[in-house]
Symmetry: C2
Subunit: 322 residues, 2 copies
């Protein structure tokens, strides 16, 4: 039904169509017309409704131009195989299934919309249609399990550098891998890894970037803690360009890391972070940790100076600035 | 067909049945009779064959007495839910599926026989019928990913202590988690873990113990490197008792570890290992490492003193004694 409605609007080429017209052409009630228009709105179509004139289609949801993506990619492996979906529950779920089928390192799963996007600690990730980059990248690093958290930091560094370069906004990294602009979150990174004894088998890296979301796209409870690149930059961002640059940055840093180790990545992370030398508070399984965040160690843990002068190693948790 | 053949032998109550008799009763050729008997032999049935008398059944494969297991278990959680199978491809595969269905910590999958038992680094694990303990235990430790290798060592400690106590044989741990008696392998431990960023989600711990295998049960290429508890102890071992004791030891050490950390486990491991203070050689992704194994560190890595006097941290690999 929405397909037939869209057809009518396409034929009208931006002119108004009255509800009565639609109703008779599609043989549905006026209420049903309104419902169908609402459904299209949820999918990212933009309509103007004027009483006595009816509706006209102002804009269609933007689709990622995959041909342009593949043409623009300067990587050797990352994103060279792309699985592109209009709507999925979660790109992570699809990527895990692809791993089971033997997908190669660098395979990218990307969707215009996730209906059940996953964040850290079982939280949901808001991923509306056509406005962000919601993706999962398959990696098969030949790494000891103990070093996986270094990869988590590497992802944050690659994304932060890309966003700064492409959008000219002051993004910073909150330990371990959240990206913030003016204290509000613009991306989420979630590395799901599988290991056999002390060797990593594969990693499915989920990356969500809120690119062109507008304030109206956020549920009200998220507005104070989340933002988008478009809101911060003051103009829409070309998603294809952002993605090409991110995959290249990521592949280069990953290569550097595989070859030379964590040293350079750690330095870059420290340059880009907003989490060091601040009074912090963190709820852990062992209780609340409060102190001054001093550094990260080679395992990616946050070293916190406690009030009694000792250093506490924080492996994971949600850190609050006090 | 094997079912009907077994029925005949059951009715004979240990007396000989001629091949001709079987052939006419089952309406199959003499060659087919021989093939069916061989098939039963592979499943652990023991036959005597005497020319002109025929075959008689001497022993049936031992089945784990699950009722006795559940009655004998002194654990609080480990093994309280048991999934018992006659034959599976791999208990690991089944345990992973159970995790997806929400199985509780401590759930045990155990099989009389594995047709595709998995070992470290994609190797096969020889798991013939009724002779061993082939199992997988589901754990959901609240641990940072970096500490998973400590769990690997914990499993080796628990199994080594159990075997020493129950069988009075001199088992020792080869880093990280192989158990050896007189230089031959008697068990394999494989921890397959899943993590979300820096937090472990679950671990499926595969443990294979060669309990009552006899020399004839090993393919010839394994005889020089593998042995069983029965061969080393000189008598069969009660699998149910061994399993009860192992699960209890494991649960107690796991509780100690969760509460007090790695210190005590590390001490026990060092007491039981055969891997320290020896000239070793190890092929790693970065090349061959040769030196003297000095200690393990808190991440479970093996610290190797190189000829130039520096210490090398070995995260994983197959260590050879020189």
């Amino acid at each position: 039904m929405t397909d037939r409605l869209l057809e009518l609007f396409e034929q009208a080429e931006g002119a108004f169509i009255s509800g009565e017209d639609i109703s008779s052409k599609l043989q549905i009630s006026r209420t049903a017309v309104w419902k169908q228009v609402e459904r299209l709105r949820e999918q990212g179509y933009l309509f103007e409704a004027v009483s006595r004139k009816g509706y006209r289609l102002l804009a269609k949801p933007e689709k990622l131009d995959i041909a342009r993506l593949l043409a623009g990619l300067q990587t050797e492996r990352f994103g060279k195989t792309v699985k592109y979906y209009d709507q999925v529950d979660s790109t992570q779920t699809i990527a895990h299934a692809l791993v089971q089928e033997g997908a190669a390192e660098g395979t990218l799963v990307i969707a215009e919309q996730q209906t059940a996007g996953r964040g850290r600690m079982g939280r949901k990730w808001h991923s509306p249609k056509g406005k962000g980059l919601w993706m999962s990248l398959i990696l098969k690093p030949n790494l000891p399990l103990q070093l996986t958290p270094q990869l988590t930091l590497l992802f944050a560094v690659a994304l932060c550098r890309t966003i700064r370069n492409v959008c000219s906004v002051e993004a910073g990294i909150k330990w371990p891998n959240d990206l913030l602009i003016h204290g509000r979150k613009i991306s989420g990174i979630l590395l799901e890894s599988s290991a056999e004894d002390e060797r990593l088998q594969h990693v499915v890296a989920g990356v969500g970037i809120s690119v062109n979301l507008e304030k109206e796209d956020y549920p009200s409870e998220l507005l104070s803690i989340a933002t988008s690149l478009a809101i911060e930059a003051g103009h829409p961002i070309d998603r294809v360009e952002l993605l090409c640059r991110f995959l290249l940055e990521l592949e280069q840093l990953y290569g550097l890391y595989q070859e030379k180790g964590f040293g350079a990545i750690k330095l870059l992370w420290e340059l880009l972070t907003v989490s060091l030398n601040r009074p912090i508070r963190c709820q852990t399984a062992q209780g609340v940790v409060e102190g001054i965040s001093e550094s990260i160690d080679d395992s990616g843990a946050l070293m916190v100076r406690l009030p009694d002068g000792t250093l506490h190693r924080l492996y994971s948790g949600d850190v609050e600035f006090r």
